[in-house]
């Protein structure tokens, strides 16, 4: 097909030169538009109007490129001021911010929870989180536990909310799944059938739409406030332990 082959002349089509930055920007655009699977080195090269190997020269490998895309999304985070807020309020705002950004880039969100990120680009972010926890009087193992509890929740919960729908193209599975759920026997599934109106396509394992189309706002709010409430009590009762 036309468009597969880059320009034949020595220079690129547009006046911009091929840079690492432009590559990452274009990659993020592809991922946002059509999902992580649609990010191929060849499609990316096509979009940039160069040969795939030109992309390799700038980013090394696909997995490295994916890391760069994740960093780019990280940079969209703007952290709240850490005065005027208690540590749990501040962390709550950070997690909310995280969710907002991830809803802008759901395909990156899903990937971020799946792949271990080892990037120094997140260090300024982490410094602020640790500083807030330290100022709250936490230290040692307890500081690490609160950190993991909250960030694990933020990354994981939002990623689960945004998990991607199967793309079997022509498929009829949403209709079939809905039919199966509405047609459930109320003797075999008494609790489920009774509460189905509040659950169907609104809860995990009972939905066919991703949180991209149907955000689980109230469930997220409840989870976040409950977690922080519980953490506040847990840290208050045995402050400074170990």
């Amino acid at each position: 097909m036309a468009g597969r082959t880059p320009r034949r002349s020595g220079q690129r089509a547009n006046s911009e030169l091929l840079t690492r930055d432009l590559i990452v920007t274009t990659a993020l655009r592809l991922v946002d538009a059509d999902g992580m699977d649609s990010l191929t080195m060849r499609a990316l090269a096509d979009a940039l109007n160069v040969y795939p190997t030109a992309v390799y020269w700038h980013v090394g490998s696909k997995s490295n490129l994916i890391g760069l895309v994740a960093e780019r999304v990280f940079d969209e985070l703007t952290l709240p001021d850490d005065n005027q807020l208690s540590w749990d309020e501040w962390l709550g705002e950070v997690v909310r911010q995280w969710r907002v950004v991830m809803h802008r880039h759901p395909n990156v969100a899903v990937m971020s929870a799946a792949k271990l990120l080892t990037t120094t680009a997140a260090l300024p972010f982490i410094e602020r989180v640790v500083a807030v926890l330290q100022r709250a009087g936490l230290s040692g193992q307890q500081l690490a536990d609160v950190y993991n509890a909250v960030l694990g929740f933020a990354f994981g919960w939002v990623s689960t909310e945004l998990s991607e729908e199967p793309s079997d193209a022509d498929d009829t599975w949403p209709a079939e799944f809905e039919e199966a759920l509405t047609g459930l026997s109320n003797v075999a599934y008494p609790a489920l059938t009774r509460n189905m109106p509040d659950l169907i396509n609104r809860t995990l394992l009972l939905r066919w739409s991703s949180g991209r189309d149907r955000p689980l706002d109230s469930g997220f709010d409840l989870a976040l406030t409950s977690l922080l409430d519980g953490l506040r009590r847990a840290t208050r009762s045995r402050q400074g332990t170990s």
Copy 2:
């Protein structure tokens, strides 16, 4: 190479016949052994000593096969008795069980949070969860919110814990990352450097080992108990509020 081509005779090598069940079992074995990426229809066919198209006849497509593998892992869950336990205690046990099973199949865990699961196989599990919440006096939107809060935490947090390390083969990034973290300036990163011994390779974004090798037990425990504690208070204070 040898081994690529199935047997030439009419029948399979071993006496077992090729069934959907055997295919799923073999697929799970491949995924557990070498990760989700190593599950290719061709490698699977090789392991079963048939042509790839024979696998297609039984499972339809790769994405359908992945769903079947997820169901297989789901079946390993054994739910606790729901008498003798309060609803939050019971849910806590379920989430712990979930984590135990996912630690047995980390590659499936990561995939489960990334892909939207629409399977009727989980319905008996869901019925019990909803029944427990209902018996606790929850209903309507509040029931759905608690459900999403807890399951989203279970799926997401554990998936984040178990996220997979990059596999760039020969790579030296673990050592480089560790060096970057230990060599941090304590004027630029005062809180981070002060707490680094408790954080390095033990917390999200500051680790190069997956939770498969270094489980985040205490962080998980704190998060789970805090979440449930908070949920108990939140539901008690405004019971029945739709």
